[in-house]
């Protein structure tokens, strides 16, 4: 019952926002500046029955998720390395700081010089995810209770068994939380990279095209699709992570 009530509450909140949007659109009175929710949803419905939309969405998803998973993997590996060795931390931390501090657009422009347009979103998602997962995981490893590790060593547990029993359960909640946050960043920066790099078959290209032709309803419809995909992905990730944590 409480779930049903929560669902009603969320639906009411969504309706309230839609009403505000509709009212604002009526007030502005120009679809070119602010399309109404009804025309945006109608346009999105048309887009969704076109096979191209699914192809573009699928390829955007593929590029961004490939960069995301590579970033997570590399972030965890670097975290293990830098948490274990002070020298590695000193050697690699300037690199992490540079990646964190550089504006994403600078990286996109640089990547355009180095890579094909299709690879730019992948590379940018990778770069956004890497320092986040790296920093959080390294901190989580360093915060692991040394007394538990010591206890396992005294009782003769192997190194792998200590990793399984102490390190992984200890760092997992923080790593999973950073992976969830990083997904949002990967998605946003990946689409931004597509808008600048313009790989032909991508959501970013459609967004750019809509802006170029001043088709504001299209711009809103594609943006709505990006938001919907992002929310869906995040839900999927949170659900998978809950399963991982409970296993």
């Amino acid at each position: 019952m409480p779930n049903k009530r929560k669902w009603y509450k969320n639906a009411l909140i969504a309706l309230a926002y839609l009403a505000v949007w509709e009212a604002a659109s009526l007030l502005v009175g120009k679809e070119l500046l602010l399309p109404s929710p009804s025309s945006t949803v109608a346009r999105l419905a048309v887009l969704l029955i076109q096979s191209d939309t699914w192809l573009f969405a699928g390829l955007t998803l593929l590029r961004i998720m490939a960069g995301y998973f590579m970033g997570v993997f590399a972030g965890i590996l670097l975290a293990i390395l830098t948490a274990r060795s002070h020298f590695s931390e000193e050697l690699l931390s300037p690199l992490r700081s540079v990646v964190k501090a550089t504006p994403v657009t600078s990286f996109i422009l640089l990547a355009l010089l180095w890579l094909s347009s299709g690879l730019v979103p992948l590379f940018i998602s990778f770069l956004m995810v890497l320092p986040m997962v790296w920093t959080t995981t390294a901190e989580a490893i360093l915060q692991t209770d040394r007394r538990l590790v010591e206890m396992c060593r005294v009782f003769g547990l192997s190194r792998w068994k200590i990793i399984q029993t102490v390190y992984i359960p200890s760092v997992l909640p923080q790593v999973l939380a950073s992976c969830t946050t990083a997904l949002g960043f990967a998605w946003k920066s990946g689409v931004a990279a597509e808008i600048i790099a313009l790989p032909k078959q991508s959501i970013g290209y459609r967004l750019y095209e809509s802006k170029l032709r001043i088709e504001t309803v299209d711009l809103f419809a594609w943006t709505l699709l990006v938001i919907a995909l992002s929310v869906l992905l995040e839900r999927l990730l949170v659900w998978s992570m809950r399963r991982i944590r409970h296993d």
Binding site: R147, L148, E150, M151, C152, V154, F155, G156, L157, K161, T165, V166, P169
Partner: protein
């Protein structure tokens, strides 16, 4: 070798001397209670014997090849594992269950440490040491937080294990529960070097 030998041990932290020219022989049979004032270095001696810390000088022998089973000053239970799984990381599940049951925790096998009282957590830590199958027990304040009945049950289990045990306890009554024990006094060292 049937005893642990400590020769001319010196250990200091910064300017604070914990052991200064300390020597002792600890027979590896029965119960040996380490006594000393608070801060005299009883827990440090445990850590040195277990190889968790190295002496600044002096020699400790007799631990090589031994399989120590330890109750630390803190419980050191894995917060994400229930009582049974906390014990079974060092033993078989069957041995873990038996040890917990003998210490009166048969109904709490599947509770997480945060769901256990302080005394129950202490008994899980003791069950872990007893189920391990070690050949020498190191028990640092093993009865902390236990009521009289559970103290007696814990002492009985320690004695039934027939393992040589080194015990740190401040309470005379608790030491007496362990029967005919011998005592090794740890003198207050030279103190601060300044």
């Amino acid at each position: 070798m049937t005893e642990l030998q400590i020769r001319r041990l010196y250990k200091a932290y910064g300017g604070h001397v914990v052991f200064h020219d300390f020597s002792a022989d600890i027979p590896l049979e029965g119960i040996t209670v380490l006594r000393g004032a608070s801060g005299a270095g009883k827990t440090t001696l445990f850590r040195l014997l277990l190889g968790l810390e190295q002496p600044d000088s002096g020699e400790i022998s007799g631990m090589s090849g031994r399989k120590p089973a330890v109750v630390f000053q803190e419980d050191r239970l894995l917060p994400w594992r229930n009582a049974l799984k906390n014990v079974s990381i060092v033993s078989s599940e069957k041995a873990a269950e038996r040890a917990l049951e003998r210490l009166g925790l048969g109904d709490s096998l599947h509770l997480l440490p945060r769901e256990l009282s302080g005394g129950m957590r202490r008994r899980v830590a003791l069950a872990r040491a007893l189920a391990y199958g070690g050949d020498i027990l190191f028990l640092d304040e093993p009865f902390t937080g236990l009521d009289e009945e559970n103290k007696r049950a814990a002492a009985r289990e320690i004695l039934d294990s027939k393992l040589p045990a080194l015990v740190i306890t401040h309470e005379e009554d608790e030491a007496r529960l362990l029967g005919g024990f011998r005592t090794i006094g740890i003198p207050q060292a030279a103190g601060d070097l300044g």
